[in-house]
């Protein structure tokens, strides 16, 4: 039986200032749209596409905060377009939408996030311990809920890369990208380090190749994470502690392990990471020079990191687990 299609009431207008352009440069363009109740920023972008700018580039998939595709900077703050309600933004003011700043522009709101996929390839994968006889009989590993919860927190990550975008180590220093994994991948390492089944030891790798020491615990990453993962407190600080243990006191590190298990050396762990062939094939020309939309006179508000507290080693009383 014919279903009724519901159309929403309209009340007032919203003005969107959206960055349009590509690697060669661009500018903010204003679009005025009728306001609609309950909308998120992505809804308005979609209405701009459907009416005035069919070619306005923007990534999205789920429109429910689950896939991490629609990352951008709204009024200068790294955010998900699909989870930012229009009615949470200052009423009556123009809404500025710009691409993530830390990654090269492809077009409009779409950036080249391949850096993240490259880092992912360099993390040694899970190397699970053998099953005990009891587990073979029971048909699966035994792990306590409390032990899996630590890593489960990090596995909530939707790979929106907003934390990578906001982290000043790469946001302001393109050259650091070759030797810095970034907060998303620090939590990946933390997840594996705390995984009840894992036997790899990634500490040396973290320090020497993934730049863990460059993080100075500003906590900006935690602040923007849409999954509310406590990136700094629960992952980075404990990792820093473990790395310190690795350098100075392997015995202390051993004592901190969740389960008794054999850890390999960093060199062995690194050798297990796939090194051959790209796991992600990039489109030709997909990697382009890093644009600076905020620096070219367009007046985009810049998200400023909280003043960096120069902490290199976490407080010793934090037990890291």
């Amino acid at each position: 039986m014919a279903e009724e299609i519901i159309h929403s009431d309209q009340s007032g207008e919203v003005t969107m200032r959206v960055w349009r352009g590509d690697e060669d440069g661009g500018e903010f363009v204003e679009y005025v749209m009728p306001a609609q109740e309950g909308e998120v920023v992505l809804d308005v972008i979609h209405r701009v596409q459907a009416s005035e700018a069919p070619d306005l580039a923007c990534r999205w998939n789920c429109k429910a905060g689950k896939c991490g595709s629609c990352s951008a900077e709204i009024n200068g703050r790294p955010s998900l377009l699909c989870m930012t309600r229009m009615d949470t933004l200052p009423f009556g003011e123009t809404v500025t939408v710009a691409p993530m700043r830390a990654f090269p522009i492809i077009r409009d709101l779409v950036t080249d996030v391949s850096y993240n996929y490259e880092v992912a390839k360099r993390i040694p994968p899970l190397s699970p311990r053998d099953k005990t006889q009891d587990e073979v009989d029971a048909g699966g590993y035994r792990m306590a809920q409390i032990d899996v919860e630590r890593s489960q927190e990090f596995r909530k990550c939707i790979e929106c890369f907003l934390c990578q975008d906001v982290c000043h180590v790469v946001r302001d220093h393109e050259e650091n990208k070759t030797a810095y994994a970034g907060p998303r991948f620090f939590i990946r390492s933390a997840e594996l380090e705390m995984h009840p089944l894992d036997t790899n030891d990634r500490r040396q790798l973290l320090q020497e190749e993934q730049g863990l020491g460059k993080c100075n615990i500003t906590k900006c990453c935690t602040e923007v994470c849409p999954e509310h993962i406590k990136i700094t407190d629960n992952a980075i600080i404990p990792l820093k502690e473990r790395v310190v243990d690795a350098k100075y006191d392997p015995v202390a590190w051993l004592g901190r392990k969740i389960r008794d298990r054999t850890k390999r050396t960093a060199a062995e762990a690194a050798a297990e990471a796939p090194s051959s062939g790209p796991a992600a094939v990039l489109p030709p020309g997909g990697v382009v020079a890093i644009p600076q939309p905020e620096g070219n006179g367009t007046g985009i508000p810049v998200y400023t990191a909280a003043p960096a507290a120069a902490v290199d080693v976490p407080p010793a009383d934090d037990d890291g687990s």
């Binding site: 596409q49 998939n61 789920c62 779409v110 992912a120 306590a144 062939g277």
Partner: protein
């Protein structure tokens, strides 16, 4: 002539959801040169949105559970239209596939004694869904993604496949597509191709599906000469969000009901007690008291009617709303707030809690949610051989939501994620073995490649034509209002006419702005598939003159035993000779639909269905 880049593989998998990644890992492990292609970035496929869990009869919570009970539940839920062999393999192999995920890093919620915890879902006799809170799909896809990366699999991200290519002898031998970031064209040659392209929901207005669910794989298979079955069987999930309008259709997991949530109408009544069909009467509670006992102990009472299969619940909600007992925005109330503690709700259903809080301003620990049916899943799809997943044209395989048969007329919750793993793996093996056995050089038809490319860029040469977003919206309105949850003959006939008109409009789209990351163009290239799939659904729905599972006709409200013996099969008998529709694809006018017998269930399995297990 347009330039394109080309690559050569043994096996190509189109789709990086659960099914595609599982297939790729298997084919690669067999030593074949394997690549995966996907329209979005890796890790973003629709599978990421799955919430409730993966169904597998592991027996961790109820040791009584086993594959036979799971098989029986699946067949009964599917109203016996299922390909029985798929349902059998699925029930038998799902537990092993879940354990394998765990060895690859997945961290499921645990039972008291440390095994994988399993939760209740509609239509499953025992608590059977392995899960991680309400973000199981994320766990599945991330585990598979990390496994794929660890294995060094090649992934072509943001590459939209337009068409399958075949060799002179008709064997599927590759594909042509374009990079979304650059607009550059690509040809991939392969000895076999696996379709794992997921769903079709974006042809409807209110859907739980992501933008990628445009039925590309369904359509590409049909255009390559393969059969589709059961396309009329579309699942409307009973509980989608209804307000605000901007989130209408977004899913509210069945886990809410599995964990104790109940449905109420505007009078506050648990109306599902009034809608228990005969087939499920013996196993369903007849009082609130009995139903409430069941949650803690499944032997103390029979199941609550809120956990009937999805088609039953969706239709009941529809009837309540029609009878004027709906919620303010045209749904009904889903109440967990009065049934579980706030802490329990936040722990068991964290993403539902956030979703309502952030998108609707509703605190589900304190108030009821407003919910209504949303287009969610297509049971129909590419007709495949159960054991190998081979489609009906050589060289082509299909797994996951794009394949048909496994779920019959209605899918049980949780049976999709397990389907992805079981048949994803089988597709990997099937395609790898086919590739290994394939002799001789592959030669692609240059004319066919150029035809596809020319058709794809044609809208840029047109001026003053249609806007693709308008055409898409008209299609969504047509499907929503005429091919929705309750159908009838005259509306379906109207729909068929409208879809043909829309094909003409789509053929007249004009575009500007170039091919580089241009969403208007991307949508334009998705439209031929959406139109094709919509036509198949409407044709099947018109032909199936009965109500069964995901097909409900108000002019034929009962199930007809004779119709239960056939699948409706859509095909294009000679795709190369067919009239051209949009983007150089065979016209929707060339699709036919006819009944063919459902595979006959062997006696020993039939006995399982009748046994009171």
């Amino acid at each position: 002539m347009t330039e394109y880049e080309s690559h050569d593989f043994d096996v190509i998998i189109i789709g990086a959801g659960g099914a595609g990644l599982r297939a790729a890992v298997e084919a690669q492990a067999m030593g074949l040169r394997t690549a995966v292609v996907c329209k979005s970035l890796l890790g973003k496929a629709h599978t990421v949105m799955a919430e409730g869990g993966i169904a597998a009869a592991m027996g961790n919570v109820y040791p009584e559970d086993n594959w036979k009970v799971h098989f029986r539940d699946t067949m009964r839920g599917g109203k016996l239209l299922n390909n029985w062999r798929m349902a059998q393999l699925h029930a038998q192999e799902a537990p092993e596939r879940v354990r394998e995920l765990e060895a690859w890093g997945a961290l499921f919620d645990r039972t008291e004694d440390g095994l994988i915890l399993q939760r209740d879902f509609g239509g499953h006799r025992y608590a059977r869904l392995a899960h991680v809170g309400d973000r199981t799909g994320l766990e599945l896809i991330r585990t598979m993604q990390q496994k794929a990366v660890a294995d060094g699999l090649e992934v072509f991200m943001e590459l939209k496949v337009l068409r399958l290519l075949h060799d002179v002898d008709g064997t599927v031998s590759g594909l042509v597509g374009y990079w979304r970031p650059t607009g550059g064209f690509v040809v991939l040659k392969a000895k076999s191709v696996v379709l794992a392209t997921g769903s079709v929901g974006k042809s409807w207005m209110y859907t739980s599906n992501s933008w990628e669910s445009t039925g590309d794989g369904h359509a590409m298979a049909l255009w390559a000469g393969a059969d589709l079955i059961d396309m009329e069987c579309v699942q409307f999930h009973p509980t989608g969000m209804v307000w605000p309008l901007s989130v209408r259709g977004i899913l509210v997991t069945e886990g809410v009901r599995g964990d104790g949530g109940v449905l109420r109408n505007s009078d506050g009544e648990r109306f599902m007690f009034d809608y228990v069909p005969d087939m499920f009467r013996d196993e369903t509670a007849d009082s609130e008291d009995e139903a409430d006992k069941w949650y803690d102990d499944h032997t103390a009472g029979r199941r609550p009617p809120e956990l009937l299969p999805r088609d039953e619940v969706a239709r009941s909600i529809n009837s309540e709303v029609k009878a004027g007992r709906g919620s303010p925005h045209g749904g009904v109330f889903l109440d967990i707030a009065t049934r579980r503690t706030a802490e329990d709700i936040r722990r068991r259903l964290p993403s539902m809690y956030h979703q309502f809080k952030e998108l609707a301003g509703v605190d589900i620990t304190a108030e009821a949610m407003e919910v209504g049916p949303t287009c969610h899943y297509i049971m129909g799809g590419v007709r495949v051989d159960a054991d190998t997943t081979a489609a009906t044209v050589p060289g082509l395989f299909a797994a996951g939501e794009v394949a048909g048969g496994m779920h019959g007329a209605n899918r049980l919750g949780g049976n999709s994620l397990s389907d992805l793993l079981v048949f994803g793996r089988r597709a990997g093996i099937g395609a790898a073995e086919f590739a290994e056995g394939r002799q001789g050089e592959i030669s692609l038809d240059e004319g066919q490649i150029q035809e596809v490319i020319d058709a794809a860029v044609a809208p840029f040469e047109r001026e003053g034509g249609e806007n693709p977003y308008d055409v898409h919206q008209s299609l969504q309105e047509t499907m929503q209002s005429l091919v929705g949850i309750i159908r009838n003959g005259s509306e379906l006939e109207d729909a068929l006419v409208k879809i043909e008109e829309l094909e003409d409009r789509a053929a007249n789209i004009s575009l500007a702005g170039g091919t580089k990351y241009n969403p208007g163009w991307n949508l334009t290239t998705d439209l031929p598939a959406m139109l094709t799939v919509s036509k198949c659904t409407a044709m099947g729905a018109l032909n199936r003159k009965e109500s069964r599972g995901g097909q409900t006709r108000d002019d034929y409200p009962m199930a007809d035993p004779e119709m239960g013996k056939v699948n409706f099969v859509e095909r294009i008998s000679d795709p190369s000779a067919a009239a051209r529709g949009v983007g150089g694809t065979p016209s929707v006018r060339s699709i036919t639909s006819q009944p063919e017998p459902v595979p006959v269930l062997p006696d020993e399995l039939r006995a399982l269905l009748e046994e009171a297990l």
